[in-house]
């Protein structure tokens, strides 16, 4: 039925016979040529409008003889063009940043919160990401997203994202349209996204448009910078833990450009001399991560454009030991090499082609890989007068997921009141949930070479969708869509039909009510021991026994623009989650994962709550305050004795405030305050004695021998940690050193009032021998600074 409405809508529109012409083109930033995503185009004559897509492309089809188009984008001066509508027109616009931000008049037709049919969506300004203070001064997109309502941050300092009661695996994190499987460095303390390389970020928590699919709880759509089309520029910074550099410019002016950025931490390099000294040069070890982003794009014509982008990131712990000694005339040499490393590799090739001024196409081929590897090897050599003897031993553990994907997406703008998207795609997945390889040998021979553990699993995923964002009358705008997907693995096929709906009804010029429904399917599970985003977490496909994850979410909201400067929204949501997995009691990722589907329990989840957000996007003081009231529960037949229990990140109250103030061109400050109800943890309440196994009682005849103390856990996640709160303050001092060179000193203090926030609770004995509940905190007040520059 839904499909039929959509198809009729589309067919009807293509057959409109009234004289009409299309104005289309790209909107970009004047100095760099970077596309402006979501810029508004409005015809003052017909009062019709549209917005640019993720490539900065727009298309508007109008009737009549002429039109006066106004182009607007927050932070940029409006531009007005009168056009003659006797034929189709191609019109590319370059917008100029308006530095007099206070003076910007945001006109009624700009992309205001109440106008959109889409709800539960936040655009994150990169400007904000860069000016807000953050742990160790490492600017981080995901940590800025954590400050928004509906997003829980997980544990202290981590960049985990838990949206509306969902799990960490349920976020579709897209980097230039390619899913990123592990978005964190260093066990979640930093995200893999280098803020310097990013152009725009959007978070969607509900009412998902039909063109997105594959995850249950959120979409984080990150677009990398295309690279400056006009001139060479660079920026970089040196901070407490890392240094980074970004360089961009034209290869052929206004035709081909590139952007490359790289980041590496250097604690290991700084500490190596000390370790060498301490270990007598027999060994060294350390940790580092790096990431590299590369993008090249080429404009063949106004109709055709090619983008190639790549991301490579890796984390590595390593320890090398080497020793040599002589004893009784025999020289013994010992060498061992240990490492744990993990990382993502992502590549995408995209081709935009404008088939007609109304029909924009994008064809994408992508590759995404996540690997986790533990390796150690050891080699011993003894040299004596009788000869040389050697033996070696090595062990490798490898797990990961690899995707090849192809898709084609269309934007079709037949009429100013309709914005149609449709497309289809296919992904070939290779799952490797844990392969162990042992090798051992003696005197150069290979005596043992075995591989065990799970074999790889191949799977096919496809999807197709259609959606129309259309107006009915002057007050109602609806986005109606259908996403159809299917997954085939080991002779099982899981199809899924996912209707999507979102709509707004304008109450008056400044306010609207919105509602949405989305059914989502996720053909992936994450096997995780703690749910805190460790690199050991395994991505696994559904199997014949373990079905895909599904969710249904309804939301109702109210949005208002107050006095042109403030945006206010309140939303309530109700979400059900099906086929979630958890390890059985006592099972873990260590061991044989070939039978992982027998090591897990399957259950359901329920999440509901309300979110309030007040945001000021322009002016010297800008930022937001968000409040979330929420519940998130899980029910598993074989966990917690079948009783419903709170999700680990069930958080009744959550407040996130992020404010920046610009005193002048040289000084700005950023303030972050967060408050959250304590995480739900599992603690024993009572203790008692139990026999060590059923049979012992027979053997030992019920004597007092063979008892063990048990801590009774009344409910999983039944105890609340103390609440979490923290204030961070940062100041950025900018200076235009020369006409082309600007430097910034950033100073920040994390946790300025030195709150001892709970990270972990356990029972221990105090000095008087009493059992006490004991809290471990991670980060006290931590100052940071960094030096950055731009040219």
């Amino acid at each position: 039925m839904l499909l039929r409405i959509l198809l009729l809508n589309t067919l009807f529109l293509t057959n409109l016979s009234i004289a009409q012409h299309t104005i289309s083109g790209y909107v970009s930033e004047i100095n760099s040529g970077e596309p402006l995503i979501g810029a508004t185009i409005f015809d003052e004559a017909s009062l019709k409008g549209t917005t640019t897509n993720v490539y900065g492309f727009y298309s508007i089809t109008l009737t009549g003889d002429s039109a006066t188009l106004r182009f607007s984008y927050v932070g940029y001066s409006n531009q007005r063009f009168s056009v003659d509508l006797s034929k189709n027109i191609s019109l590319n616009i370059e917008m100029i940043a308006d530095n007099e931000l206070e003076e910007v008049v945001v006109t009624g037709e700009s992309n205001k919160i109440q106008e959109n049919s889409q709800m539960s969506t936040n655009d994150i300004s990169m400007e904000k990401v860069k000016s807000l203070p953050v742990l160790l001064g490492e600017k981080d997109v995901l940590k800025t997203i954590q400050l928004l309502p509906g997003v829980q941050s997980g544990s202290e300092g981590a960049s985990g994202i838990y949206v509306r009661g969902g799990g960490p695996d349920q976020n579709l994190i897209l980097l230039d349209g390619v899913p990123v499987y592990n978005a964190s460095h260093l066990f979640g303390f930093f995200s893999v996204f280098n803020a310097d390389a990013i152009n725009s970020v959007q978070l969607i928590k509900g009412g998902f448009p039909a063109h997105y699919g594959g995850r249950l709880s959120s979409v984080i759509d990150i677009r990398m910078k295309e690279g400056n089309m006009k001139e060479f520029h660079g920026e970089g910074s040196v901070g407490l833990i890392s240094a980074k550099m970004m360089f961009e410019g034209p290869i052929i002016k206004d035709k081909t450009s590139f952007a490359i950025s790289a980041r590496r931490t250097y604690i290991d390099l700084l500490s190596r001399p000390f370790i060498n000294q301490a270990s007598d040069n027999t060994g060294f070890g350390g940790y580092y991560f790096y990431d590299v982003n590369l993008k090249v794009n080429h404009k063949f014509s106004d109709k055709s454009r090619l983008y190639a982008s790549a991301y490579l990131g890796n984390d590595k712990f390593y320890a090398r030991l080497k020793d040599r000694f002589v004893s009784n005339g025999v020289t013994e040499e010992f060498e061992s090499d240990n490492s744990i490393n993990w990382g993502n590799t992502i590549a995408a090739l995209r081709w935009n082609y404008l088939i007609t001024p109304k029909l924009f196409s994008n064809t994408t081929i992508t590759y995404s890989k996540y690997n986790f590897n533990v390796g150690f090897s050891q080699e011993n050599t003894s040299t004596s007068s009788t000869g040389v003897e050697s033996d070696f031993f090595s062990f490798d553990y490898l797990s990961g997921i690899r995707d090849y994907s192809a898709k084609i997406d269309f934007d079709y703008n037949p009429h100013p009141d309709h914005f149609v998207k449709f497309g289809t795609g296919y992904t070939f997945h290779t799952f490797t949930p844990g392969v162990n390889t042992f090798r051992a040998g003696f005197n150069g021979g290979n005596e043992l070479d075995t591989t065990f553990g799970s074999s790889t699993t191949l799977a096919h995923e496809f999807w197709t969708y259609i959606e129309d964002d259309f107006k009915i009358g002057s007050r109602t705008k609806i986005n109606l869509g259908m996403h159809i997907s299917g997954f085939s693995v080991d002779n099982v096929f899981y199809p899924s039909f996912q209707p999507r709906f979102s709509g707004r009804f304008l109450l008056n010029e400044n306010s609207s009510i919105k509602t949405s429904y989305a059914h989502m399917a996720q053909f992936l599970h994450l096997l995780t021991n703690a749910g805190i985003g460790l690199p050991t977490d395994l991505w696994v496909p559904p199997t014949a026994n373990i079905k895909p994850q599904y969710s249904h979410q309804v939301a109702l909201g109210y949005a208002q623009t107050i006095g042109n400067k403030f945006e206010f929204s309140v939303e309530g949501y109700y979400k059900t989650l099906e086929n979630l997995i958890e390890y059985k009691d006592g099972a873990s990722f260590f061991g044989n994962n070939e039978v992982w589907d027998q090591k897990v329990e399957v259950g359901n989840g329920l999440a509901y709550g309300a979110e309030f957000l007040i945001e000021k996007k322009i002016g010297k003081t800008s930022g937001w305050i968000g409040y979330t009231l929420s519940w998130s529960n899980r029910t598993f037949e074989n966990l917690n004795f079948g009783e419903t229990f709170p999700y680990r990140y069930d958080r009744r109250h959550d407040i996130g405030a992020a404010l920046t103030h610009k005193f002048n061109e040289r000084v700005d400050i950023g303030i972050v305050w967060v408050y959250g109800t304590g995480n739900a943890v599992t603690l024993g309440t009572e203790r008692y004695l139990s026999y060590s196994g059923a049979q012992d009682m027979v053997m030992f005849g019920n004597s007092n021998f063979g008892f063990q103390e048990i801590e009774h856990i009344a409910s999983r996640n039944g105890y609340r940690m103390p609440s979490y709160h923290r204030l961070d303050i940062g100041v950025n001092l900018h200076k235009q050193v020369s006409q082309k060179f600007e430097r910034t000193w950033s100073f920040g203090v994390y946790n300025i009032y030195n709150r001892q926030n709970p990270f972990f609770l356990y029972f221990s004995r105090d000095d008087s021998g009493n059992n006490r509940l004991t809290q471990i905190s991670l980060f006290p007040l931590i100052p940071s600074f960094s030096y950055s520059f731009k040219f």
Partner: protein, 291 residues
Amino acid sequence: MKNKKIKYQYLIVLISLSHFFTSCEKYLEFDEEIKEPKIVVNSIIHPDSVFKVHLSRSLSVIDNGDLTSIENGTVEIYNENGALIETLTHNQYGEYRGNLNPSEGQTYQLKVSAIGYESVSAIDYIPSLVNISNVDTTGVENIDGFKELKLEVSFQDPQNIQNYYQIEIIRTQIVNGDLFENPTFIRSDDLSTGNDPEYYKYIYFDDILFDGNLKTITIFTEDTREFDNFIEIRLSSLSESAYKYSKSYQAYSNNIGLGNVFAQPIQVHNNIENGFGIFGGVNISRKKVTF
């Protein structure tokens, strides 16, 4: 063994990580209400022995008093018609004994009261005996000097009822006419058990994947034929409660310590109403393998 190495590697990383950041410890008030002591029952019943029940007390987790035995309790066994069949008498250290042996297929109710405690009760049954039909010693595998004996244990699973099993091996030495029994660690690479192929004291599994069939399970144990006179293989048929208790208990024991810092704590199964512990029925089939 191999997996242990990964664990240590991982721990090294975690420890170095904890040095990497400053951490800080402090005591908190425990917000839960302080629970009154309850009666704890430990009783595994089987047809080879008279009824035996052990009683002790529970304490709040922050009370570090002793978990003492209860020696003044009244322990009664009822049959499934609700008739009292036996009152057990205190033997020693909180252990109570009767004169009757439980019978296969019967359901029993336990009622316990003691001054100063809320009374507790529990119900369980003695499952049918499932005999070991055959044991084959199919060879010895030598891995890095560690000799493993491979045993194939067969039994006929009863059809259309859910059965729960436990396997263990007891090594037995006869020294000067005295019998010395030692439980030994065993592993199984039978994936249908859902266990990791690591060494455990007991292997637990149910019959979901082989209901009503002749099942042969392969188990490995250390080859100790040089020292032992014989080994005894015990296949126990467990009631659902006894199975859940034993399995969760073994997981709990394995989970203690640093090995699994990130794993969820284990909830040990408990079938005592108003109290803690287990009243579980077991039926044991034994088979000796003499060398």
